[in-house]
Amino acid sequence: MSDGAAQASVPVLDGWFTTDGAAPHLIGTRCSACGTYYFPKLETFCRNPDCESSQFETVELSRKGKLWSFTNACYKPPEPFIAAEPFIPYAIAAVELEREKMIVLGQVVDGVGVEDLKAGMEMELVLGTLPDANVPEGKLTWRWKPVEGASA
């Protein structure tokens, strides 16, 4: 959880992740026929060209994965991003989930910069806060955090 943001309780995207502070998960779906995972959730038609399924189960994605690549945002992004004033740069991680065989992006927790990151590091999903135009305490989002003692 980000500093001073303990009050945030509304997710920035409804139904995209669980809000259990201790062990949050991204919420995806899995094709009942071919096993392909989807994030965000897909519940209409499987995108595998060799699969005709329209049956999906909702699944919690793996909370941990390996860092594929990383960067940061040195400038305030345009709307609909809402930035704290003054803008504080944040790192961004692309994390490879082994079971799902997919890479998922997300901001990295406060206080961890690109200099602290290395491809292959083990990362875990935690909750963080995004400023919001209408909710003073901000809204919940997911963030990637290096697992304690992780190294590439």
Binding site: Y37, P49, C51, W68, S69, T71, F81, L105, V114
Partner: protein
């Protein structure tokens, strides 16, 4: 598809931040291409425009907007929107029309006026739009380029100095290009001193957005012969393939890749030139010059490998060796690339073909790649769009 068409006219409106209506750039580029072809506007029987989504209704029907500005003369019209591949899609439509025998001469044109700063999504609370979602959580366009660049550093050992070298090389190439927006020879020190945008990419590693226009006059080989241009540069291939599931890279504007549980991941970028090579019946070794989409300096290195111009992971070494400079074994972006132009979306893929046409004609002046006979373009944009065009003499 088999069969070639000839490029008998090329023209551009200089790239810049002019702030005019996009159609003005399209008209200027079209008139230049018509003059270059030595034909009359009324000879053009098909106008194929690249659409622009930032200029309201006239932009959605850019082909018609520019045709009307040039003077309605009854020709058929088309507008193609395919993000960064819009120009190539418009060109593909013209080629099909010509090869089917439905028309002999077509104008292909793309032009854009772009806003300042980051390209931002449409307004409103729209969680069903992946482009809206990623901006909401703070993922901008440079994020993706930076992730690819950092990945190169992590697995191939590329450095920020390698990326800077691409900018230095392209700025030398574009220095005398009268259509380029930035004409200054930047040094590695200039790049290193520019502000960090998305680590490891600095401001000078990332391309700007520009206003500009580009146009081609294409025709049947028979028509080219009849007007004494039998030796015109020809289009040997246009590839506009879509990705194959599951795509291996996280692509703008997505927040995740496809899951590769059910099938092995596939590279979209390398599929684009691969189809073009197959269509033209040539191999990467046959290429004398390439214009690739350097949205970032590091991305040029990815494209060099995706086009098969060197082995995977070796593009930085190739660049350091000087091989990608004019005068080297395989010059890349002799126009100066997006580094010198900035991106004018519907015009950019056509600008690449304009440059290759000048190169293959031997009309590129101080940027001339000696003896250029085969050129390839490559670009990629949002939502599974991309293209690769091969031209030959």
């Amino acid at each position: 598809m088999s069969g070639e068409v000839a490029i008998i006219g090329v023209g551009m409106h200089p790239w810049g931040k002019w702030g005019h209506n996009f159609a003005e750039y399209g008209v200027a580029a079209a008139q230049a291409a018509i003059r270059d072809a030595g034909i009359h506007w009324r000879d053009v029987r098909f106008i194929s425009g690249g659409g622009t989504v930032r200029n309201g209704y006239p932009g959605y029907v850019a082909g018609a907007t520019i045709a009307q500005a040039l003077g309605w003369q009854g020709a058929e019209v088309n507008t193609s929107y395919a993000a960064c591949a819009s120009g190539s899609q418009a060109l593909a439509a013209a080629r099909t029309k010509i090869l089917s025998g439905d028309c002999e001469v077509a104008l292909v044109v793309g032009a854009d006026t772009t806003p300042k700063g980051f390209l931002a999504p449409a307004k409103g609370e729209r969680p069903d739009d992946p482009d809206w979602v990623r901006f909401r959580i703070g993922i901008t366009n440079p994020t993706y380029f930076a992730l690819y660049a950092r990945r190169r550093m992590e697995i191939y050992g590329d450095t920020q100095d390698d990326f800077a070298l691409v900018k230095v090389k392209n700025s030398e190439h574009g220095f005398t290009n009268e259509n380029a927006r930035y004409r200054k020879k930047f040094t590695a020190e200039d790049v290193a001193a520019s502000a960090m945008v998305a680590d490891p990419l600095r401001l000078m590693d990332v391309c700007a957005t520009s206003d500009g226009g580009a146009a081609l006059i294409v025709c049947s080989l028979d028509y080219a012969r009849r007007i004494g241009k039998a030796d015109a540069v020809r289009i040997a291939a246009i590839s506009t393939v879509t990705p194959s599931f599951p795509s291996a890279l996280v692509e703008m504007p997505d927040l995740a890749t496809d899951s590769a549980v059910a099938a092995a991941p596939l590279s979209f970028r390398s599929a684009l030139p691969q189809k073009a090579y197959e269509q033209a019946g040539i191999a990467p070794e046959d290429v004398s010059v390439a214009e690739v989409y350097d949205l970032s300096t590091a991305l040029e290195l990815d494209w060099i490998e995706d086009c098969g111009l060197c082995a995977r992971g070796e593009a930085a070494a190739l660049t350091r060796s000087g091989a990608t400079k004019i005068g080297g074994r395989i010059p890349v972006n002799p126009s100066g690339g997006l580094a010198c132009f900035g991106e004018a979306v519907p015009a950019q893929a056509l600008a690449q073909v304009c440059e290759l046409t000048w190169q293959l004609r031997g009309q590129a002046g101080s940027r001339q790649v000696e003896g250029a006979r085969v050129g390839i373009t490559a670009n990629q944009g949002l939502f599974g769009h991309g293209s690769s065009v091969i031209v030959k003499r």
